[in-house]
Amino acid sequence: MLLIGTNLIKLTKELEHSFVEQLEKHQNIVHKVCRLYTNNQDAHNDLFQEITIQLWKAYPKFRGDSKFSTWMYRVGLNTAITLYRKGKRSINTQHMDDVLFKVKAEEYDDTEEQQLKLLYKAVHQLNDIEKALVFLYLEDKNYREISDTMGISEVNARVKMNRVKTKLRTILNP
């Protein structure tokens, strides 16, 4: 009995270790989801925390037949779109992208920087589902992966993606 107990603890520790190791390696995926769905640092941390919990809760069922990162896209987006409850922390205090842009301002010439700032602003105006599609587009996912993540057909993913792109362009060039 004691042996089973210690083995179980050992197994849990191993599971925990491999999970944290992989999450550490792929954490940018989570950061990027947070960047799209929140607009200040507190909310960003909050969502990061919730996605981590959801990933960890789902991890025992992760079978490795898909890549860890692919699996993370699903759980991350699902948490942001559906599971996460926006608390008072999501009330806008300071726009994250403004902070990021201040740091990086020197790297860009003026027009490109301006254009990007407008682009990110436009993305933030999209609804939750549209943001998810833009996110997968920015991550260079193909339509099959997009359809797998969202649960819609490839054709519908393509149609919707084109619509979102058009919508973004309309926001930018009214």
């Binding site: 981590t52 959801q54 409850r85």
Partner: protein
Amino acid sequence: MDELELLKKDWQRDALAYPQLSAKEIYPMLLKKSSSIVKLLFYISIAELVFWVLLNSVPFLFDSYRESFDNMTMNKSMFYGITAFTYLIIFVFIYLLYKSYKSISAADTAKGLMESILRTRKVIKYYVLYNLIFGGIFMIISFYYSINGNPEVAKQLELVQAEGKETIFWLATIGMLILALLVFGLFIWLFYRLIYGILLKRLNQNYKELKKLEV
């Protein structure tokens, strides 16, 4: 260059700009409690089950209710049959609820996840609906029996009949019954609108957004 291509380039170049968390910082996060919508939904479901079970059982704790129950002319074995049936239904709902909660997985597709949450929500909705319908029927039946077999009511009725105001008496009684049912229904409806309206508003919107594509 296309604006979206520019965005994509920047997005991918941006990858290392996020403050990186170390394994040491990630470990404590695993111990934190989730505050997800599913968890809240789960607590609310439990509260609802308890609420309805209490609502059906609490009156029996009072002597006066038991007394009036004992005086009721309604068939006792029928009553016990109904009670057994009620508890059976509760267990069926608990089982269904458990099963649908189990099917909620964050690793599902976005649409799949939303559907399993909405399915869970439906189980509770049907439970409440069942309670309302059954409660309503039970209310009418017991109302009928309490009027029919009650000597106090019979005496009143005789008085009214003597005065020739029988129709008014019945109209007033039925009116009161309908009013009570309406107020009861309105209260429950408001309660659920409030809880689920707020809780599931975003989910419903997003689900609709996904469904729109399938037309």
